[in-house]
């Protein structure tokens, strides 16, 4: 009896974490599913059950599809930059640069990721400014003045300009992850490749690339799910405008909830985001489990 009590008392150690998770993480997600079936707003606390109407409304709404498409664009560009460009940068850093300078460059590359999204976002909205921004000034300076535009103010360019800023902030972060992955490759592999007469490019494709596969998988998955959750960047720089052209699902649900006061619709959009990102995360778990079994 005493032993049983002692065993149960150990539960105290995990209790705070479990309570926090249940109340502030799990319950809200479950509540969101329920709320998406009601029509309600912040000031009429009497929700009306409408079944799947909110979902029907979302799927029939061109802005919803526009937002989803923008999320996809975000994912594609981020994949190329965060998984592709970052890996190349990391490999170059390892191949070319001596120890000290490498440390310095690594630090430098990471700095944007250490700044907050507001700092980066507001800074870039100055750079993109149509009259005084550096981007247009630079274009004029090199004779490409006809390309100058109101980057964040035009429907054709707003979301792309936000995505570009996001890459500026993110590439260094994933490059650092890849640097660590490359450093974990046993040195003998590189020696062997060198002895066999493989050049740097050949070595990259036949040693580095296969050996960092796990990290690549992880970065790919984190990047995709990040792209479907994106909110801050768009909120800070365009709030989804002009004319909803740069909405993503995250900002669209925020807009519906707190500006249109259509909470049920917003909850339905949130559920869609949840399903997409949960599926991606579950895929990650499944992959890493299989990897562990292979090993």
């Amino acid at each position: 009896m005493g032993a049983l009590l002692t065993r149960w008392r150990t539960v105290v150690w995990v209790l705070p974490a479990v309570l926090l998770l249940v109340v502030f993480v799990y319950y809200p997600i479950a509540d969101n599913l329920r709320l998406s079936l009601f029509s309600w707003n912040a000031f009429s606390p009497e929700p009306r059950f409408v079944g799947l109407d909110n979902y029907a409304e979302a799927f029939g709404d061109p802005v919803f599809w526009r937002a989803l498409l923008n999320n996809v664009a975000y994912a594609v560009v981020s994949l190329v930059c965060q998984a592709g460009v970052s890996l190349v940068l990391a490999a170059l850093l390892e191949e070319l640069v001596g120890r000290r300078l490498r440390g310095l460059l690594r630090t430098l590359y990471f700095i944007p990721a250490a700044t907050s999204i507001t700092v980066a976002g507001v800074l870039f909205s100055f750079l993109y400014n149509p009259r005084y921004g550096l981007v247009n000034a630079a274009l004029h300076a090199v004779g490409l003045g006809h390309l100058a535009r109101a980057w964040l103010g035009e429907e054709g360019s707003a979301i792309w300009s936000v995505i570009a800023m996001s890459q500026w902030q993110g590439i260094g972060y994933t490059a650092v992850l890849f640097v660590v992955a490359i450093q974990r490759i046993p040195r003998e592999f590189f020696e062997a490749a060198r002895v066999d007469g493989a050049g740097p490019v050949r070595t990259f494709f036949s040693v580095t690339l296969p050996m960092v596969r796990e990290m690549t998988t992880l970065v790919v998955i984190l990047t995709i799910s990040g792209a479907f959750l994106v909110f801050n960047e768009v909120m800070v720089m365009t709030s989804g405008g002009p004319d909803n052209s740069s909405q993503v699902l995250g900002t669209w649900l925020y807009h519906q909830a707190f500006f249109e006061d259509d909470m049920g619709y917003a909850a339905a959009v949130a559920t869609v985001v949840f399903v997409v990102t949960f599926a991606i995360a579950a895929l990650q778990l499944a992959l890493s489990r299989r990897r562990r079994e292979d090993a």
Partner: protein, 311 residues
């Protein structure tokens, strides 16, 4: 950052400096062994590689440098000579930004960040201890619950959380942010600390038990001190997260005097629409703490990132 630590335990915690040491045996790239001559192609490839690295460094650094320097300019200088150095070091811009709101947002950010660091690290260390060093009923179920917490993202929970926080009276308080920053980061931090804690030899606990120490004493006097390196990493990552978090801070705090820096800066930008130098000075002040923190604790940062992100 939702990521899962799935590494095999024996790979273990990254020892200080191990990364750098393991590599000294290999000299930097030399010309191809065969022939040995420095060919034109080899030179061209290296020049290209270096230009990519240098080009990226400039692309990263220049906007930030421009931000810091423009904080010293006046409006006319920014608009007419955007590329030039400031004509004078106008520290008064920084002073004005500080007085016009940054000081308040900064204080709020410090309060929320420090509180959430303490809460997250402690609560996670307790849980990690329970999960990996004590025999606990339903241990697996708890581990699964924590793992699941990694998969759930804040954006999705905005609306129900708004309802919840309003109904329990936390809306528009520091507590709203402290509690949420802790709750959403606890899963990641537990896995981070657990990966390290699980490596500590069993004999440590057994010896302490023989000496008559209780599990509580073992935690505070033995295990926690031994986990110091990973606790530092966990605290640094939490600092970066809490200092920069935007979505919760935007939705759950509406009173301007309670806003943290990320949201406060946006409010300031719309208040001071035309006063670019002051806004840019404010941005610089806001960016400095995390950049300095990262530079000072770089090794711990990177360990936390890569341990947390799996191997």
């Amino acid at each position: 950052m939702t990521a899962v630590k799935q590494g095999a335990p024996e790979e273990g915690a990254l020892k200080e400096g191990a990364l750098e040491k393991r590599r000294v045996a290999v000299p930097p790239a030399r010309p191809p062994a065969r022939g040995g001559a420095v060919t034109l192609r080899w030179v061209a490839a290296r020049v290209l590689g270096w230009s990519v690295l240098a080009g990226f460094a400039v692309a990263v650094l220049y906007p930030l440098l421009w931000m810091v320097l423009s904080g010293f300019k006046d409006n006319q200088e920014i608009f007419e000579q955007p590329w030039a150095l400031p004509g004078a070091l106008r520290w008064e811009n920084y002073a004005r930004a500080w007085e016009l709101g940054v000081v308040r947002y900064f204080t709020n950010s410090v309060i929320v960040t420090v509180a959430s660091i303490v809460a997250t690290t402690l609560i996670s260390a307790w849980a990690a201890y329970g999960l990996c060093r004590l025999r606990m009923p339903f241990g697996n179920a708890v581990a699964l619950l924590v793992l699941g917490g990694l998969l759930l993202s804040p954006t999705v929970a905005l609306i129900p959380l708004f309802r919840l926080l309003t109904s329990i009276g936390l809306f528009d308080t520091y507590w709203a942010l402290i509690v949420l920053y802790t709750a959403f980061r606890v899963p990641f931090t537990i896995f981070l600390i657990r990966a390290y804690m699980i490596e500590l030899p069993r004999e440590v606990d057994e010896a302490a038990t023989l000496d008559g120490a209780s599990t509580t004493q073992i935690f505070w006097r033995v295990i926690l001190p031994m986990c110091r390196p990973i606790l530092v990493s966990a605290a640094l990552l939490q600092a970066l997260f809490a200092w920069n978090e935007f979505a919760f801070a935007l939705v759950f705090v509406s009173d301007d005097s309670m806003k943290t820096l990320p949201v406060g800066l946006m409010a300031m930008q719309s208040r001071l629409l035309t006063d670019w130098p002051v806004v840019l000075a404010g941005l610089t002040i806001a960016a400095l703490p995390t950049i300095l923190l990262f530079m000072a604790g770089q090794r711990q940062f990177i360990r936390g990132l890569t341990e947390g992100v799996g191997k």
